[in-house]
Symmetry: C2
Subunit: 199 residues, 2 copies
């Protein structure tokens, strides 16, 4: 037992589960938490609990929200005839930041990835198709990440939508291959939406 | 308001307070927490609360511990006549991992840093001097970080200890094992030449 404290070791282990956090960073964060005043730690704990308790998924677009439907789906100014399909809620934020898109969204919750055992039935694809079949949709813009899995999922989704006679486009490959949508700069995202191509 | 959820934004803000965590990483961690099952999040919250509730500082060496005195200070096999002075509890762990040191420790809690308003009275220097004046100490090994503040604090502490006729040493500065001389910085090479040892 290297560590003088079991509870510290336990916290470090919990923190290393975070994405992008290695052992050393987890140690530094654990020491930081230990040194923080009690009120600050209580704020952190409350923030974590709040997120789990208050946030649910929008029953229309499956974006995260504290109200159902989400503020975007329930906004009368948003164009309900255009649906932008993304992987994760963070992608919605990335597109919203451009202030250039006035349609609505559909969050798939991931992409088809056989290696990780994620099939079409694990994503909100069925729900997207029912939104389209309910009518009133003119265009579906597919904005998945430019990864192999993203491309595959784009083609899969496009093929399911086409029979409804709805225009299907994909955001342009203005995004550099290998990066994630959430890290792209605003100008790149604007260009990618402008240059969307019909599938 | 860019974010669709106030509680998510709040959690991201709390997470960006962590050392070495920027906005993007905080977003990813917040999304990770959101996606985790309830039991996992409860484990994380419990680990944070436990660390704050169970961990105190050893009344002898000021290392973090769940028992007072800490396991090192209360271990009869440790050589109480040798005290290694370090900045932070993590430094104790770093030295313990070597399995080469059998003495005890004294954690200062930082270094003298006038720019950040940290003076000698903010550190456990008084407490170190009383341990030494109580007798039974043969050597004090100063193992502070090789920063300007670390050097200043080392000299300050050494000058306070010398009147007690106790041997004061400092861990060597030199080339780290496994690196090449051509990549070492000038200050390190100068110090390595100064501290050369006879073969």
């Amino acid at each position: 037992m290297l560590y003088t404290s079991e509870s510290l070791e336990n916290l470090i282990e919990e923190l290393t589960k975070f994405p992008g956090i290695g052992r050393k960073t987890a140690q530094r964060i654990a020491m930081f938490i230990l040194k923080q005043p009690k009120e600050e730690v209580e704020k952190l704990v409350k923030a974590i609990i709040d997120v789990k308790e208050k946030i649910k998924y929008c029953s229309i677009c499956f974006n995260i929200t504290e109200t159902d439907p989400c503020p975007i789906c329930s906004n009368p100014k948003r164009d309900k005839s255009t649906i932008c399909v993304v992987e994760e809620p963070m992608d919605v934020l990335a597109i919203e930041k451009t202030n250039e898109y006035s349609g609505v969204y559909h969050v798939l919750g991931g992409v088809i990835n056989p290696l990780e055992g994620i099939g079409p039935e694990d994503l909100k694809i069925k729900e997207l198709i029912s939104r389209i079949s309910a009518g009133g949709v003119n265009e579906v813009i597919i904005a998945l990440n430019p990864s192999v899995e993203g491309e595959t999922t784009s083609m899969y989704v496009a093929n399911l939508i086409k029979p409804f006679g709805v225009k299907v486009s994909r955001i342009a490959r203005g995004l550099p291959i290998g990066t994630a949508l959430e890290y792209a700069d605003t100008a790149t995202i604007v260009r990618a939406i402008e240059n969307r191509t019909t599938l």
